[in-house]
Amino acid sequence: MGKWASSIFFTSGSGSLQQFRWAGGFHFSCFDFFVGDSFPPSIFLVMEECRAIIPTYEGEEHVVAAAHHMVKALMAKKKIMNRESKQLMIWDSGSKQVLEYLQAVEEVQTLKESLESLSLNGGEKQKRLLRQAESILQIAMVRLEEELLHILRHKKQSFEPEFASFHSCEEVVVYEESIVSVEDDISEDSSRRDSNGDESKEYTIGLINPEVIPHLKSIANVMFASNYDQEFCQAFIGARKDALDEYLGILELEKLSIEDVLRMDWGNLNYEIKKWIRAMKIIVRVSMLRLLNFGEAVAIGQHLPEKLFSLLNMYEALADLLLHIDALFSEEAGASIRIDFHKLQRELGDAAGATFMEFETAIASYTSTSPFPGGGILHLTRYVMNYIKILTEYSNTLNLLLKDQNGEDPEPLIEAENAQGVPSQVVCPVAHHLRSIASLLESNLESRSKLYKDVSLQHIFLMNNIHYMVQKVKGSELRGFFGDEWIRKHMVKVQQRVTSYERTTWSSVLSLLREDGNSGSSSPWKMILKERCRGFSIAFEEVYKNQTAWSIPDPQLRDNLRILTSQKIIQAYRGFIGRNSENLSDKHIKYSADDLENYVHNLFEGSPKSLNNRRK
């Protein structure tokens, strides 16, 4: 079917309409083949029916792509259905078969997804197709579940000899605990029983052979992508539980009730206890090794900023537990595990430290070539401030880690005091780094602001962002690290930006409203006044047009600026109009002061408005 289909497809193309027809018809026929298993009917079908399945894509390329897609899904279905009749497990049949099967499943999955997103507009045929895809997907999922269980059951790790040797030396220790000589004989017997058993047995415990992990991952990925994660988890967990049960059986742990144990005679009890101790140690060690492996894997991973909190959590968890680990593995045989976990803690600490540094450098490199629309708060600003806010929760740990990293303190660990002798800021590695992070952010903001052509907008942008930083510091644990001095300084900066904004926006406009001692009703003066008035209106309109689109997210700041504008500009205008009322008639005054008051309220809303074309 495949070859025939592609030959029709590629030899047809004379003119796009023709291609459309062929593609459409082909699409439709593939659909029929997909849904049923019969040979497709004639390709020459009514266009309406083709259009029914082909959604409102623009352009024939999409149609072509859709048709191509159908071919693949078709072949996928064939593969999946064929597999059902075979006896051999897919994963035993070689990696090529595996790959093909997984690709087939992904094809059907993709088809299903694209149909789902179209199903709102789709007609009956499309819905049927979707159902079919789901049906085939379910068959594939059942199959994959079987494969998963097969792999888990039959590909096990063989027993590591390290455990066997530990076991035999441990027996000697327990020996010495038995007190009565009579019981020595019993325990001697039982231990002989034990060691004989161990030497001859080849334990295949349920540890997963590392070779099969990629297989498990590929099955997991496919099953999760198809929303069959519940089935995967059930199967996986079930298999692991059974493996553990089997393993406990190998350890010959009897299933004893409490009543049984209470009634037991000392000889048997001693024997059971020894088995218990052995089992505990082996299981605990096995689990510990697994945990160690995972921890190491995380520690050597990429130093992405978002990983920092996880690393710190792991570090802290481990720090709490190391005492217990040391106690658990206090004897000689456990030394390697102890050492490994201490090492892991150091590695996690280093990774956390390095990630923190990466974060700092990342801030400087986070640039853009286009200005942030509306002059509002950058995502970077929010991200960085929230990030360091959370970091304060880990300040104790971080201080330790950063101290180790730098070797020596960059600044002595003292508390600077203000005049009243109250500590006004804490100087520790974390505080030092947080303040440098803030500086880096500020530099970045400065450069970003230069991207705005309008100088007023530069000021608004910086005002917004620095204000945000100040608010975040004031309202959180960061206050302790930055200190009141920093807050004060930056509030001053915000104020400076406000002032600069006022100046750049309005100073030239304000000069229009100054009379410079002129007065009277002379004709030229009247002309000047009219011109001034007109000029003011135009300037105001211009500002209005631009600055309604600007955004000041903080409500208080927004109100402040509006009030400021109102006080300085509108009042000046009001005065101007009032003083020159004889010289200016209504038709010269486009806007009343009250009108302007109202318009000022629209400034900095973030949605552009315009006052043009307004006639009185």
């Binding site: 497990m89 159902r131 049906s135 069959y228 519940q230 199967a235 299933k255 009543e259």
Partner: protein
Amino acid sequence: MPATEYQGSFLGRISIRRNQIASMDGNHEQDLEDLEIFQKHVADRFSDLLSASDATADASVDPLLSIAWLRKLLDVFLCCEAEFKALVFMGRDPSHIARPPLDRLIPELLERVVKALDVCNAVTHGVESVRHWHKLAEIAVTALEQRPIGEGQVRRAKKALSSLVASMTVEDKESINSKATERAWSFGRRGSKDRIAGQFRSLSWTVSKSWSAAKQIQLMLGNIAAPRGAESTGLASPVFVMSIVLSFVTWTLVAAIPCQERSGLPTHFPIPRQLPWAQSIIGLQDRIGEDWKKKEKKGSAGLLEEMQKMEKLGQSLIEFADSFHFPAEPERVEEVAAQVTELAETCRKMEEGLGPLQQQIREVFHRMVRSRGEMLDILDQAGKVSSPIM
């Protein structure tokens, strides 16, 4: 013992009394009064349980043997146990306790406690099985909530539900044999639609093949006898009350939650039916016993209300799945939707309640361990222990 577990006035009274008569032999009248109060509290608590399970229109009521009701039952047990200890042991001279008939009755009670401990362990594991079934039910709910209902999702739901129902109805005995588990695992039947794809959890996870919950209950009930004559006014009575309460709670847990070997579970309690404080217990026991007899024939996994619902709804939905052809008739779809909603609600209750239930069972376990230890200490002090105590 936390004072909050019993009425303030009761505690106040016995502590004053104890201080007054610490060196004396024990005020007989005071004992009688205390015993009556204890019995009344027991009666009240179980009466609450009985009325809480009455199927009325009140939506906040907890059906008999639902997770919520069982949790209440365990709370009641802890309260009764605390009161019992205060009544019998607090402030008394140990030698007073080691006299007949207590020197025989207390050790017997402690033997029952040990059996109850084993039952707690078995039942804890049983709750794990219930969790497993809950997850299967959730798969079915997810699948059947899709609209429109297609063959793929229906088959998916059916697979999960078949596994659920099958493992619920398998006889306990089969679960012991690990070979059975292996068989359930095999993939020989490719293409067959109703296999149990190795999801079945063995109930013999924690207990040996020969352990039987039913047997343990039988033994617990075996030597309980109501005190007669002069003994009925002494401390033998509260011990009898506590033994009944302990046995009843243990028996209820076994009836409700899957655990190994419940065939032969006794449905008759050796309580004289005219005892006033025991009326509610007898009432509950009768009801649960009836339900048990009905279900035993079908080999059901347990009377837990949520489990029963899952089984019933599961079977009904399997039937729907078997007869499903696309498109389903709207009335059918509506019917199924209602059942799926009910199943989803049951799942939600399990999601919320199974964890706390397990925790409570552990709490009961630890409390019994502690109390047993305390009682053994007291008996040791008395030094009059004649036979080895368990």
